[in-house]
């Protein structure tokens, strides 16, 4: 029999407070996406035309490029978090579920980086 008190036994073994990490990140990204997504759509709608020259000129404005990079990065992360939950809920069988989760994570990193690269290439590119 141990003489340690119940409190003494559990101290330092408690929750690392990380259980809500996924949930919290989903909320942080969703709050950020409200202005970012509305800003993207509004800015695109405000353009007189969607031809190549106007779009390049639009993307070469620092505000547009910065806003769009933030939008695609946050949207990709938000999408990854959301699809993870959907897979965890509906894909049964540990093997298939794990493979799906890994593929979804890789795919989102790939898509997010590709989108940022595309924006930077236009925004910082030399000749048209």
């Amino acid at each position: 029999m141990s003489l340690r008190s119940p409190l003494g036994r559990i101290l330092g073994r408690g929750s690392a407070k990380e259980g809500v990490h996924h949930w919290w990140l989903q909320r942080l990204t969703s709050v950020a996406l409200v202005p970012l997504s509305i800003g993207f759509v509004a800015s695109l709608l405000a353009l007189p035309a969607l031809d190549y020259a106007s779009l390049v000129a639009w993307l070469r404005q620092s505000g547009t490029a910065l806003g769009l990079i933030l939008f695609v990065l946050v949207a990709a992360r938000h999408s990854q978090l959301g699809m993870r939950v959907v897979i965890e809920d509906y894909v049964h069988g540990e093997g298939l579920k794990t493979v799906a989760l890994v593929l979804i994570d890789y795919a989102h990193v790939l898509i997010g980086v590709a989108a940022v690269f595309a924006v930077l290439k236009v925004a910082l590119g030399g000749r048209l």
Partner: protein, 130 residues
Amino acid sequence: MPERPLSPHLSVYKFKYTLVTSISNRFAGLVLSVGFLILVYWLGSLAAGARAYAQACGILSLGVFKPIYLLLLAAFVYHLVAGVRHLVWDCGLGLERASARRSAWLVAAVSIALTLILAYFLLGPGMHTK
């Protein structure tokens, strides 16, 4: 392995508006995840130069994409409005049955109105295709 309850098993739930609003938000999120690919393809074509962009526009302005754009627009509007409802809930507000029922109707009404208005401007007769 003991038989444990699994969540969510859609078939065991009684059909209610709470089920519709919840699963619609999920479905809209999934649609937007797929739609994000179109956005990145469009951005990539822009980065690849004028000829690639013209080619991509040729593909993206095909008639088959029109209903897809309408679906994406509806999904975007609904996910945005329903998402704000979720954020209000997360603050501990509007969780009572009566106010949750009211906000469900509000979300539906606002989403349909916004989708129709935006669809008119984005996909309507006056707008040239992207």
